[in-house]
Symmetry: C2
Subunit: 343 residues, 2 copies
């Protein structure tokens, strides 16, 4: 598929004008003609060519042209230059993500929040599921009579706690001892690898802990099963409802369902993102029906030296890609900076 310079220019102009106005754009369109400096007839013939290539379409005979998903794809791949964020915007992002004093959980919340605010679309941040995190330490903290709080700390500094009931005859020192042993032996393992057998082996010798171990295992099994998939934070859904393409209730409700209630849909859609760079998925390119009216702009972030999760935007296919790409990239980079540093 080769595009001569004229068609390229026309495609870019049509896409950008349509993104701006949300209307089909015709060959006589003011801004278009000024920008291209040729007559409407010339534009028309270029448009006809682009339509034949499947990059533009028109909803009906007497309407202007609208980019197809493939048209957006070509625009994004060939013609798009990220629009740098303003000084103030970059500063706002850095301020939100700046505090090394923040917990990772807070940081990701902040990232989702600031990204939605800056891009004016819905943002999503996926943090690694429990299974993907590394075991850092276990602490068994006495809670009173026969009860303790089991706290797991992961490599990223996340904390998971759950009260458990202790078998009789376990002293505080025993808890400390057990915590120490387990922590020492398992430190650095992926939580997904903490199988029953593995745990068994670690404390196998100390059979007096057997009952306690049983409780721990039950807990881990449950939490790991539940924590298999990444946790998603979605922010700024309100921005989507302002977009004209989501005014139709059926479209809106499909999208909102995918974003809010059926987290698995969005989760799986995000899972398709490659590790590197900013990834854009446009309309029907998405695997899921519900997201056919949407585009995703997604980038991975790193924590503790590894790819930890993704951060991105969800908008209509008629998305301000230039801005979205820049914003996602900037937030992902800052996030990696902070999280990779503190790990």
């Amino acid at each position: 598929m080769y595009l001569d310079a004229r068609r390229r220019a026309v495609l870019r102009a049509v896409v950008e004008e349509h993104i701006r106005s949300a209307e089909p754009v015709g060959s006589e369109h003011r801004a278009l003609r000024e920008q291209l400096g040729v007559s409407s007839a010339t534009i028309r013939s270029a448009m006809a060519g682009l339509e034949e290539m499947g990059l533009l379409t028109h909803p009906h005979t007497s309407a202007g042209r609208v980019p197809t998903d493939r048209g957006y794809r070509v625009y994004v791949d060939l013609l798009l230059e990220a629009e740098p964020l303003s000084q103030a915007e970059r500063q706002a992002i850095r301020r939100r993500l700046g505090g090394a004093a923040e917990t990772p959980v807070d940081l990701l919340d902040q990232a989702a929040h600031v990204l939605a605010a800056i891009a004016q679309y819905a943002s999503v941040v996926a943090s690694p599921g429990l299974r993907q995190q590394r075991f850092q330490a276990l602490h068994l903290l006495p809670l009173g009579e026969q009860r303790a709080l089991a706290v797991i700390i992961t490599g990223t500094g996340a904390v998971q706690g759950r009260p458990i009931t202790l078998p009789a005859g376990i002293a505080t020192e025993d808890l400390d001892e057990l915590s120490r042993v387990i922590t020492q032996r398992l430190q650095g393992s992926l939580l997904a690898d903490l199988t029953d057998e593995r745990l068994e082996r670690v404390v196998g010798e100390a059979s007096r802990y057997h009952q306690l171990l049983e409780a721990l295992r039950a807990w881990l099994r449950r939490d790991l099963a539940r924590g298999a998939r990444p946790r998603l934070r979605v922010e700024g859904v309100r921005h989507l409802l302002r977009e004209p393409e989501f005014r139709r209730p059926d479209v809106a409700s499909a999208v909102l369902e995918a974003l809010l209630d059926e987290e698995s849909v969005l989760g799986q859609a995000l899972a398709a993102a490659p590790g590197e760079g900013v990834w854009v998925s446009i309309g029907t390119e998405n695997r899921f029906e519900e997201l056919r009216a949407c585009s995703l702009v997604v980038a991975g972030y790193r924590a503790g030296g590894r790819l930890a999760g993704v951060v991105g935007l969800v908008g209509p296919t008629r998305m301000r890609y230039r801005r979205a790409v820049a914003a996602v990239r900037y937030v992902a980079d800052r996030l990696s900076e902070v999280l990779d540093a503190t790990a």
Copy 2:
């Protein structure tokens, strides 16, 4: 405002029929006449009376009657009998909320989830803000060189952790000692009462901990400030989008904004709920513009012997109150049962 038996019966029938059909109901309406056993003319005159009292209205001359917010109010206060949940539904709720093995956080998630599923409206669960919880224990867990994780455990078993940097020359034993002292002295206090001065006094004597204390204080200040308001879980928003009254994009987006993005709106609206019983707030009774098209059905739940938070439903004013009230009451009761027991 006195309602004779006839008007009462007509009001109830109109409200329930309108709730069922979402259409204005006219005096000739089949079900209505069968239920009431009088002619349409009689119904008409009762309707005219109810309209004069401000309990019914009609959108235009030749349309049937629709309850006003005040009409729903009278219905809820005078005429409503909760519709008992089915055996299966109660069982489903109990199963979800049954596990004493669950953490409070998980329990509340489950409650929001099951309530939305059963009532087919959006559900909301407010859990107490950090400030409203009681301090149970502090643990300073060594994380490696000069770093530790400060973990606060609250009375409800919630865990809050944050990494802090240690001043030089603090040994693991020192951390244990400090944890012990603070835990002992502050146990049972409301977190909101942990002022700087109070903390200062607790460890005042041990001035070598000064720097550490500073970090702790900074953390508490921040987290408490942020945790001042209750945390809200909202589930099942998709159900709302199916209701005809939310098909208009402007209404839908106002409501969704209030539910999803502007948590303060919903939070404040919920704050108006009294501690006892099931509270219903209808349409314009809500303080907030955005919720004028909605009704709230809310009940408090108890944890640790005290009112801990609220659980409720958000639906259109044309809500199935009978069912909603029953579902909210049942979930709140079960929740209290479990949380009050484990505390």
